[in-house]
Amino acid sequence: MRPQLDILLVEDNEGDVEMTRRALTTAVPPVRMTVANNGNQALECLHKEGQYEGGKTPDLILLDINMPRMDGKAFLNVVKESTEFRSIPVVMFTSSESPADIRECFERHANGYVVKPFDGTEYAKTLRQVVSFWGSTSELPS
């Protein structure tokens, strides 16, 4: 197991950011979470620019679809087409259960697609499972 998992959460809804933060305080392995509110900010984070200067490249990206400016699918495209970043696993974390969205994200090489559970308790549990899988069960590129 990794001592710590660095997660980039790309999410515009403050309520979701807060829910995620709360859920991951008890995650195993422990999580250090960085937040970007849209694709453009997330790119700044990957390039360690602006407010993200001096940061670390994330081990895992949790990505919402519906966001202003650069949305999740566009950002996913950029990441998976970049030789520098495409090895970072990207797990979609979204309200959309649309089969078309699911198909489209996997076609763009998303590494997972998780629908945000409606129930608050399930929401937290699901997030901790995601962290447990990527931080413990799965190996990650170093």
């Binding site: 829910m19 709360r22 089969p99 078309a100 409606f118 129930d119 308790t121």
Partner: protein, 382 residues
Amino acid sequence: MSAVTPNRSEYAPGMAGVTPPRILIVDDRRENLLATQALLRPLGAEIITADSGEKALNLVLKTEFAIVLLDVQMPVMDGFETAQLMKTRPSMANVPIIFITAISKEDHFATQAAQIGAVDYIFKPINPDILKSKVSVYLDLYRQREQILQLNASLRQSNEELERFAYVCSHDMQEPVRMMNSYATVLTEFAGDELSDDSKRYLDYIRDNAVRMQKMIRDILNFSRVGREEVKLEVVNCREIYDEVVHEFHDTIVRKHAVVMSDGLPILKTSPTLMRVLLQNLVGNALKFQDGSQPPEVSVTAKREGHLWRFDVADNGIGIDPAFSSRLFTIFQRFHREDDYPGTGIGLSTCRKFVRLCGGDMSFTSRPGEGSVFTFTLPDGD
């Protein structure tokens, strides 16, 4: 306005009424053309003339006409031959042709004209009033047809807009509703001990209603997905899908001591999503609409009828009041209180929309107090 005929299937709204209908007059004698033209001018149509069958055929290739007046006796290609060739064009199939003749007055000529698809066979000398009134009837018909096409196109467009609206709306509503529900939970956990019993109850109201709204949103999304997303046909083992659906209802079946059985469920080529949606809704309804006085009995049977498969889902439930029957498949129609029989009023309309999209149909029979049978048909995709 160009002379190019708009394609019927993508007919743009607002086109009819802009272009006057066109009349094509075909006669090898110029004086006849001029006379008929003068006679019909007051009808308000655009009049186009041709002095031979060949020229007439060339014109119908490029232009749409409301009616064609065709002289029978012409050199090289006579009226009959011209009409026959015209009628081979799909765009001409519904265009009325009136033959005008000075010589071929025998019955068998009129018969031949009718066989080609002519609507009338008129002798010269022409009675101007009669010709005018006949042509004007066909022009009216043409205008009415154009109006209907235009109306259909705009209806289709507004329907598509509405569906798109419903889809986008419900899609975007998912997140705020989820947030309300989640934070009601967080608040309960957070401030549990400090909350009064009333406060806890109010938080429960928020949560219950958020859950209900989420169900509605999900059902609306499923409804609007039917027709938006491509239907994939596969070889479907209906018995397997039935078993899965029954498994999903396991808890309800045990709790209500229900008996659910099937017979003759086929393997056919259809949409597995459709089959699942149908069985989930119909078996679910059969188990739900029960008054509890007896254990529910549900049977799902299928048999072949011609090129269709007919499925019956029968129950011994409360049945359907005949007063509601005409609105049963209408979206958002509910006939019971939420507390008695919860639901969104979307399931059956989704089912019928989906079945019709796949080339089948859906109906029901019912006796209040005795039960209902929901029937749907599906073509075997092979």
